[in-house]
Amino acid sequence: MSASTAVLRAELRLLLREPFSLFWIVAFPTVLLTILGLIPAFREADPDLGGRRVIDLYVPVNVLLALLMAGIQVLPPVLSGYRERGVLRRMSTTPVRPVSLLAAQIVLHLAAALASVLLVVAVGRIAFDVALPGQVPGYLLALLLAALSALALGAAVTAVTPTTKSTTVVGSIVFYPMMFLAGVWLPVQAMPDLLRHVVEYFPFGAASQALDQAAGGSWPDWAHLGVTAAWAAVLIAAAARWFRWE
């Protein structure tokens, strides 16, 4: 077994030992979707939404929520804790570079978020008759870019905060506006025009538009994909620039 595989396997076991983390990433978005779907009015066609139902809009929203949970809420305190407790430092004296530990954590949180995405889409389809994404490649591309943004934002939060405590606090502060941008309180597509045009320039607002378009069967606007990709690039650069190993 190669060293990187061994690290990945050990970190997978550790993630599976964190029931609360798994709940927030994998279960919570589907729970929220189910609660919203149980409200009868949300299952009726709404002329203001061009004949779509509120629950149709909330499938992409909860997909984004899964990414935000993994990237911003759960991942940063883990990375920060590894740094603060000297786990990275200890590993840096072995032939394995500590970056492989960070990479393993990022990959595993991404995998947990994608499992959550599948669950949200499946429950949406089975329980509430929400159509499956119409433009699958476009959907996957938007999903990938949004996931990169969420993980990079989490890594950037870890980079600029020195302790596990401050990482948790800053992560939570960042988490709420990101949920707003993703449309958790009010789907981006239901926002007033002016607000929507502003939100579209922020990472998860643009991703929300892209996912919604792809779900509806058309190729997402390149502008939305471009904005999401640009934010991902900026955040990755910021995380790489400011991350400290100790």
Binding site: A6, R85, G86, R89, R90, T93, T94, P95, V96
Partner: protein, 301 residues
Amino acid sequence: MPIIEVNGLRKVYGDRPVVDDVAFAVEEGEIFGILGPNGAGKTTTVECLGGLRVPDAGTVRVAGLDPRADRAELTRILGVQLQESELQEKLTVREALELYSAFYPDPADWRGLAERLGLTARLNARFGKLSGGQKQRLFIALALVGRPRVVILDELTTGLDPRARRDTWRLIEEVRDSGVTVVLVTHFMEEAQRLCDRIAVFKQGRVAALDTPDGLVRRSAGGTVISFAPSRSLSDEDLAGLPEAATIERRNGHLTVHGTDTTVNAVISLLARRQITAHQLRVTDSTLDDAFLELTEEQEH
């Protein structure tokens, strides 16, 4: 050729040099002790050896490798036990040993190491649930699991009970006997005296002395101490005639003489000549403790 060479090593934090012009060489297969008060620069020095810190000046070579530039080769032959490093809270002892074994090309059998370090009963325990001594023993196992040529142990037996400490000492001696070079940072004089072939005494970022444990003791003023309660009191004249006696002390009918082996022999023959019995006779060497305190005390006088 020495396996570790340090020359002109300097490390400054802010404007305070914590390591200042340190030089020493460690021969292959020896246990080299680094001794010194808190803040003397011991840990910073071994962190430079392990490639964790970049020296501000000077050169460090471990097995001919530069710890920073040749990191990949160095980490394969170097085992490290650090202060202030922990493992993942929920990783079990077994998982930690398996994980670290997977890092090295030709690892030791971790089960044997766990057995030697008394960890077998705790293999399924999570790191966070281990006692301080158990964590310490796990760190020692992880430092050795890669079959290193050089192992750095920073505060080896801190947190261990006396039995575990002695078991650990035996293990380290066996490790040395198998040809591994050991650099040992320690606070315990008994440990340094028992284990180290040579010791560098650090003081304020510099090497204040470098010698064998016996050599350090011999250098100290204390030398050999003989104490006893004579059955009849000895005359001042007789006592004044003792060769190489540094100090003579009488207290409550007890006599204590600091001197050398020659002094001890002279005292014994004097007692025989005067037919005086010595009760509670003790002859002790001045210890490494004494030598250490002498070497590291502030030289204000």
